[in-house]
Symmetry: C2
Subunit: 453 residues, 2 copies
């Protein structure tokens, strides 16, 4: 449905733009949500995009800019006047504004900031201080804050004053005069309260809060655990700095999940299969591919130098290499996935490092025995016409167990060690694991075969 | 920090339970949040768990039950009296209650429902009608609804009446007397409004709504696009049925991302590496592993029956099989990941099916040529002492291009076709792809080699 509409709208707009009918463009766009407009934008001829944007009011333009993918956004921004960018940024929440400014080249960012109202600049610059993927990086400065001696009526009057600036909020934060967070009052409670009572008397405890340097993945886990839709950010002294809302967390979770998935697959970042130019796509994909290729060619070197005589004598050995490598690879991938996802979701505790690794090795051995028995029997049957098929089956059995146990060990240990060293555990997965496993699996198999025959 | 605390608390509680000191247990638990208690629960001796639960009030117990993993929850519930379960379920929002009841054996569910207040049962039974992973399955019936002719004062009085039942809400839905949704009033607006005005006069349009059979992944995408924290669910006639809140959507996104990731890795569902019994773990992991193993043993059959003479003559051919299989596998995995994730996030449009597949084939060919050249050169150098190393390099070159182009095609086409047929596109990834790719890669390589030599 939605895509059909978008396609229709795109055509209408293209036609209007061709005819120079800016009023027509506006008419079509005014009936659409910023998200739909961003979709239309996507499918427009790049040359038409600045025209479209400049035909819109700054509020709508700012929403569209935020909906675009990063690459497209940067392309558009580079063609716009800093003054116009400043107007657009003014319309954004402070967290989005900070993100957008951090994407600009430094000198341009400075020009844009110079053209913005000083009180907004203050908020944005504060946010720019924190890493982009920390609680401070995803919080916004816009919130409703009152001191504990304010009455409910004072609070409502204050809300009336700042209603335009703070668009969506669900609770009022109560602080002392030094900004120290004391509690909160939900809007529901405020609606029901006696206007003359002090908010300090009806406030509740904040269920959970964070400090600004907490990682955004940890923030997402807190939202999941506590089922909140917003959470305050405080400094080490407990002073209120900002708040994080559920819609930001939804973006974080999506982003982190995508990152994990891409890393598993050896893709460096999101690539749109149609809109990304082919050379960019190749550049983003080729590093891991070549790395794997080099790793696998190492196997070729080892085989040529060490196992060639064995293979010449028992050519059929080659027939079972794929089975050993692939099965080991699968088990290793399962193990890493379970460990990486567990670390990401906070269900695995790093204190149990050794218990975890040991448990995976044990399980790997178990799986190895099952696969070893199956593969040895089938392998024996397949090669029954060979004179030494019993020895072959035995080599398959032993190397299957070794390969699967080893990849289980590496599959669990590599992400845990990376995590402990504060690297991203997902880096241990995908191509790296395939490579390790293939090298280990084929060499062990041929080595065992060489010993047996 | 948090895990340290949990470990300490667990020890304290274990000691109290050993001494039969229930008051001590309560004292420790009263100072902790339900989430922490669930963590403690996790690390307790299974025999102590029912004791702990029964020492708590039903509200806390209901929160803990919801925080547990499904397997653990079912274990606990099976040991509890239906009347106690009914009390616990009564404390939950209708969506959580429906989820929990759907996890119970049918006869037990009926007993529990019979012990619950009829008005709650009505809501729960309505929710049970919708698939668990649809908008209707994740919505809750608790919301604040008033007719358009109510004044602001009426609305506030109504909120006062139902404040206990509807815990968190951020807007009031405005309907006509047939429950048809007309608009909404944010709590912020309600706080600021004249008490005598009718809500119909201050209501805004609902930015977005869904019907109950929309898939939960689509619901999550709508939340992401529109940056809302709650959304109404209406039937085909526009009558208000319930609402979905951001915290439910956060759970959906996490669940869907996990599902995608597990499917990539050939794991059927979340497995906790330490708490899941080893036989369960093996049972959940072995199907894909054995499937891959059988697929790979097919390669062995083909090699033994068709390519043995070629391999006997040129044993060194085996040395390059891993490189061709692994590189093709990597490229295919990248392609599927990009396509599956794009479909999941709604950035790929199925109407562009052929354009997409063609674009991936083109890119695969491009990557294939790069890898083919690199592998042929290195392969040639490695095997320079062989009499026919030029032919070998040529075989590597041609089969690298064929394998990578073919896996790019399958990697893009398989998930798209599954999606079009309304199956889960992620099922095309991981083990299935590895298998296809290994079989295709090795057979093409040996076939080309057989032709050349």
């Amino acid at each position: 449905m939605k895509t059909m509409e978008a396609a229709e709208l795109t055509e209408k707009i293209s036609n209007c733009l061709k005819e120079g009918n800016i009023e027509g463009v506006k008419e079509v766009l005014l009936s659409s949500h910023a998200t739909e407009i961003a979709t239309i934008f996507h499918s427009l001829d790049p040359a038409d995009r600045p025209k479209l944007l400049s035909s819109l009011d700054t509020e709508t333009a700012s929403k569209i800019i935020l909906e675009l993918e990063k690459g497209q956004r940067q392309e558009i921004l580079s063609g716009l006047d800093p003054e116009y960018i400043a107007n657009i940024v003014n319309e954004m929440d402070s967290d989005d504004a900070a993100d957008l400014i951090s994407e600009l080249p430094e000198d341009e960012a400075r020009v844009v900031l110079a053209k913005m109202p000083p009180e907004v600049v203050k908020d944005v610059v504060t946010l720019l201080r924190y890493p982009k993927d920390s609680a401070g990086g995803i919080m916004q400065a816009e919130l409703v804050q009152v001191t504990n001696d304010s009455t409910v009526r004072d609070t409502i009057n204050w809300i009336r004053l700042i209603a335009d600036e703070v668009e969506d909020f669900y609770e009022i934060y109560v602080t002392d005069i030094t900004d120290k967070l004391l509690g909160m009052v939900s809007l529901k409670k405020l609606v029901l309260a006696n206007p003359l009572i002090q908010v300090g008397d009806i406030m509740e405890q904040v269920p959970v809060k964070v400090t600004p340097y907490v990682d955004q993945e940890e923030v997402a886990n807190i939202f999941k655990k506590y089922d909140v839709v917003s959470m305050p950010v405080v400094d080490d002294e407990g002073r209120l700095l900002g708040r994080i809302t559920a819609d930001d967390v939804i973006d974080v979770i999506t982003e982190e999940a995508s990152e994990d998935i891409y890393r598993f697959a050896g893709v460096q970042e999101y690539i749109h299969p149609i809109y990304t130019p082919i050379l960019t796509k190749v550049r983003l994909r080729i590093p891991w591919i070549l790395l794997t290729l080099f790793g696998e060619l190492l196997i070729a070197v080892v085989i040529v130098h060490t196992f060639k005589p064995t293979l010449e004598r028992i050519a059929i050995l080659a027939a079972f290499m794929p089975a050993i490598m692939a099965t080991g690879g699968n088990v290793g991938l399962q193990t890493t996935t379970i460990v990486v996802r567990g670390l990401g979701m906070g269900t695995i505790n790093i204190a149990q490092l050794f218990q975890l690794i040991f448990s995976e090795i044990k399980e790997g051995f178990f799986l190895g025995v099952i696969c070893g028995v199956v593969a040895a029997i089938i392998g024996g049957v397949i090669s029954m016409n060979e004179p030494e098929f019993i020895k072959l089956a035995f080599a398959i059995f032993v190397s299957m167990i070794s390969a699967i146990t080893a990849t289980s060990f590496i599959g669990a240990a590599a992400p845990l060690v990376l995590y402990k060293l504060k690297f991203d555990p997902a880096a241990a997965s995908g191509p790296f694991l395939t490579m390790f496993n293939d090298i280990f699996g084929s060499v062990v198999y041929l080595f065992i075969a060489m010993l047996i025959f």
